[in-house]
Symmetry: C2
Subunit: 225 residues, 2 copies
DNA sequence: GCGCGGCATTTGTGATCACAAACGCGCATG
DNA sequence: CATGCGCGTTTGTGATCACAAATGCCGCGC
């Protein structure tokens, strides 16, 4: 089923001109994105041979990609070595939400001095697409544009290490966010994003911190209830 | 050459009764601890075959251990796939210090209600050992006991996810902390630890947050200067 | 004496195999 | 009809090999 080609004995077959990353790295990126935006539900199992067949790879690079995702908390490892998307307890969700509430206002604050109009316009555009996803009840598109909104802002903070840590938190929440949406579809576009944009325009740092914190904690409120 | 024994055709030979983790996991733990407490200086290179020979393993488990550490930021990956301990820029150090300053007061605050006398005594004892490390100019022992002091407190917060994120920050700073100590040996035992203990005893939450934050930021002040 | 080109070596990547443990499904039994 | 037990299958782990790229070192030429 996975054999799209007769599998010649070459080691790295599909090597065209363009810059091509290592196979394990490509697989890592694909899976990471899927988990991040909630394409996988919590508890979904992933097997080495299964993914290997699916992507035309042997077990070695698959194992590396999975190990990396496990290390980042994007996947969990059962005692027998099986990997699956995490099924978070309410306590863990609260912790991860608290981490978001700690880190994201700081990143927003650092981005504020560099947030000129072009950036705010981009954020506004992303927000529009996000509203469309809400209208279409498209969970994945909703999560993706929501994260894109935040990440676009935080990129301006010029703080790659903080952003990297934050993204591992997002990764851990990915499948759970999707499951949340399945249960309680958003009926309204993110109301707090408008507050964020207003605070950015006004250069209001305390207001921005508050708006971010509210947006983050309120989004995950339904879960712990 | 790595054959310390005639290598019988068994896959997992040394399997005695005791609970034994996978080989790649054991190697991961050893390296992680070494990096965490500063046994490795920044820029130190690690090779698959080198570590494999050193620990009597093939490349496969070594690769997994290294990949995991890279994913946690404990090691960096050069463009050609070489792994080495990170050489942090001042900006990155500042970011990681800021993350510590955000997360650690929160963990301390959550631990405060559960910090009874036995815990404070344990912390005090660790602090004593830490002072000895300072007297002996033992960089590794200093870093190890310092982290143990903080971790012992934070374990009481019952927040494993937050602690895990914090430890990845510590990991990234490990080699740099060691290098810092080489340049500027601590001439005094950690003065802020006494403030932390006092705030714990008094149940003074704002004072505890401040003491933790000060301890964290001041320890890394020498670097960014 | 200095720089540079080429080759031997080192090193990471991926495929494949052998093995043991875990899993699960079906059958036999009470 | 319910409940274990057992075996075939699936799955992770680690070793080994083939290969290509990067490294670095030595010697040749200027």
């Amino acid at each position: 089923m996975a054999e799209t080609s007769p599998r010649p004995p070459l080691a790295t077959p599909a090597k065209s001109p363009p810059a091509e990353a290592a196979a394990h790295d490509r697989l890592y990126r694909v899976l990471r994105q899927q988990i991040l935006v909630g394409e996988l539900l919590p508890g979904q199992a992933l097997t080495l041979r299964g993914l290997g067949k699916q992507f035309g790879l042997s077990m070695t690079p698959v194992r590396e990609a999975l190990r990396r995702l496990v290390a980042e908390g994007a996947l969990t490892l059962s005692s027998s070595g099986r990997v699956a998307t995490p099924e978070l307890t309410n306590e863990r969700i609260e912790e991860l939400a608290a981490l978001r509430a700690l880190i994201e206002p700081e990143l927003a604050s650092r981005a504020l001095p560099r947030a000129h109009l072009a950036l705010i316009d981009r954020l506004s555009a992303i927000n529009t697409v996000n509203a469309e996803a809400v209208a279409k009840r498209d969970a994945v598109a909703y999560i993706r544009t929501n994260l894109e909104f935040h990440r676009t802002l935080y990129l301006r903070a010029q703080a790659p290490a903080m952003l990297a840590v934050l993204e591992t938190v997002w990764l851990q929440l990915g499948p759970t966010m999707r499951a949340l949406y399945e249960k309680v579809p958003r009926n309204e576009p993110p109301r707090h994003h408008r507050l964020i944009l207003a605070a950015l325009r006004a250069g209001d740092e305390p207001g921005l911190r508050l708006a971010i914190r509210t947006d983050v904690t309120q989004g995950l409120r339904h879960l712990t209830g």
